[in-house]
Symmetry: C3
Subunit: 104 residues, 3 copies
């Protein structure tokens, strides 16, 4: 099982959600966050925005769904501009259902 964490533009939330659903991935957790990438925020005329509102989405997926999930996120979140976000993958050693106690 893998944990896929992505930080995206908040305005791409619907596109990413729809792309994930099309791939059969429904379970997810969303957290509004603040952040910036390596480009250090954005410059609009004379005003620079150092820290921007972003959306963090966390997915726990089977190893077999890995590529589908990455493609869905990239497809939904990509605008072609810096600040589109990143995707991070980490391994999960165990996962339990609270109700059934079943371990995966």
């Amino acid at each position: 099982m893998l944990m896929i964490r992505t930080v995206i533009r908040p305005e791409r939330e619907n596109e990413v959600m729809k792309a994930l659903e099309k791939s059969g991935i429904y379970a997810m957790t969303k957290i509004p966050v603040l952040g910036r990438g390596r480009q250090r925020g954005i410059q609009v005329g004379r005003v620079s925005y150092d820290i921007l509102a972003k959306l963090m989405i966390i997915l726990f997926v089977e190893d077999a769904d890995y590529e589908k999930a990455i493609q869905a996120i990239e497809c939904g979140a990509d605008t072609g501009h810096p600040g589109d976000g990143r995707i991070f993958v980490q391994s999960v050693s165990e996962s339990y259902s609270v109700r059934t106690g079943v371990k995966e």
Copy 2:
């Protein structure tokens, strides 16, 4: 050291906190989040709730406290209904105290 992350019903917060305290586990971080499990939210009559308010609790525990922590969360969060949440376990390579710099 392990990182235990659980996403539970917000209304079970107190029960989970008490169960963890009874097991001697005090250190924790809480984040209100939005999310859904594989059941894709809930249906109440004709209205479906796609995304629900959940509470994410993050614990960093010694390997020896692993089973105690899982049991406390399951015990506190379980209502017997779908949507009770999940528990995810990941390994942590290092942990430092900011004040003392001591590494665990």
Copy 3:
């Protein structure tokens, strides 16, 4: 690539941000959280504060930037009092840019 997660006093946010920037680390994600460490909150006179507002900062850094990042966080967040927070390090298996698809 490593994921460094720290939970600090919110009032040390600026110091930690500046220390990270001085070390050349700009990319970061911030989340206001609630939590407590092993000291179980603080006692002020007769009033005890069980759960405190904290700030979680998440960094994804190259292995080579590991020590710089830890030192910057410790330097910025340390007040010498219990409750200064902790730093947790986890490995990341993969990281993608949404826009370019480049994997690191």
